[in-house]
Symmetry: C2
Amino acid sequence: MINKLVDKIKKTNAPIVVGLDPMMSYVPKQITEKAFQDFGETLEGVAEAIWQYNKGIIDATYDLIPAVKPQIAMYEQFGIPGMTAFDKTVKYAKEKDLVVIGDVKRGDIGSTSAAYATAHLGKVQVGSKTYSLFDEDFATVNPYLGTDGIKPFVDVCKDEKKGLFILVKTSNPSSGEFQDRLIEGRPLYEWVGEQVAKWGEDHMGDDYSYIGAVVGATYPEMGKVLRKIMPKSYILVPGYGAQGGTAEGLRPYFNEDGLGAIVNSSRGIICAYQQEKYAGFGAENYADASRQAVLDMIEDIQSIF
Amino acid sequence: MINKLVDKIKKTNAPIVVGLDPMMSYVPKQITEKAFQDFGETLEGVAEAIWQYNKGIIDATYDLIPAVKPQIAMYEQFGIPGMTAFDKTVKYAKEKDLVVIGDVKRGDIGSTSAAYATAHLGKVQVGSKTYSLFDEDFATVNPYLGTDGIKPFVDVCKDEKKGLFILVKTSNPSSGEFQDRLIEGRPLYEWVGEQVAKWGEDHMGDDYSYIGAVVGATYPEMGKVLRKIMPKSYILVPGYGAQGGTAEGLRPYFNEDGLGAIVNSSRGIICAYQQEKYAGFGAENYADASRQAVLDMIEDIQSIF
């Protein structure tokens, strides 16, 4: 799957991923109204609205981009119907041949991580039958529990040829509270980065490892160091746009080959129509606004090479 | 909810929580066969089996214990039907007046943590209506992202009078890989523990804070230090029994008042019938075996006071 991701990035010339993180306030009124008409003001109604909204964005952008990254929390907050919308979104994106990064940030002790890995990347045995579950291509994982919390994910990735992005340095303002603390003179995130590189050696694709890292766009100096520590790990870079990361700041996250990083934008793409710049599209044409925002983001990022 | 938890611990004289972490291999054959008969070898069939299995354990133990802790990964691995079984289990346990600790170990940047907090502890607005979602009483949370990943959970906890257990020192063998690393001469878990105490000051119950910590039973020396660092935080202690923690080792996790800690056992209780000690019950009476295992665990833990 890392090979597919790299191939698609090369073909689209777009090292970007669209974050499908729907909030109700992002969904255009005509979609919500229709869904509430059909399902009432229920969780099923919201789930339908979110799904239709996502479908519109996927349909309008799938030929331009290599991947989408649904943030599961935004679905989980609508309970079981929300999880069903997540499931439909993942399956639909895969039908459109997009690589799907499940932004689930799971992580636990060994046996529990194994269950999460099954849920998001693997298959489960039920009597004589086998089922795929949420079946994303990649999942994000939290490293706080150390190797035995990560290894079950890596094992499932090997079986399924899937991958991980492990949190190293996150994009949020207080990420430094623990991640930047110095251990033998070097910040914790560097130690985590070193482990990511080590975990990744064990599951290599053609040029890059199946085991990547999350490093926020908001900390380019740290991105530069981490790029060197994990030369074979793809870096998933959140925090571009709405969170304050800029295109110039992204250069250090890429290798000399122009590869090695994939930049996420969520709000900046999926509710582009709410920005002044794309207001001309109107809520009716929100998906076209998202397409234009993708084109602009690609141009912006290509400007750094 | 922390007051309710403390009250129930006092009333039952049982500072224990039963971990409802069902694996298919734990579920007695008669339950699985019946479920597969009704639903086929499907995810719905597994979900039904898990739910019936949990219901039996809850019915047999709810009068002895203050709380249950379903581990969501064990349900998530069976997809949407699995999540539905989780949901039913939580609701049923609450009907039986048990405190429910959702072992979800979520944690993300601010806006995403807010969505997780809504999902597990809060309510969501849908048009003019308000819905509860998974609606546990407590949730476990991962601290790697720092304060702005925790604060949205605390905010929802304040609104809903609910609580958290934040991972400080986990029970797994490689937990020390990052958690034990020294920062200014003190391990990371102590720094996290200090923050837990600080976050907790902001949301106090009568004697204890709504914001607790997870500290594994497998590290009693560390438990002793953390008890002092977080005097007002309830400590959720996994790792007793199957993971190797012993009753004598548990004393340091409690305060002088005999309170301040709640010890989890999962496998040791829920599949007691598979242990030699309780084999006499037979698979048919698995729930009675679980009841006996709870009684034995209570006696074992009371022996340390």
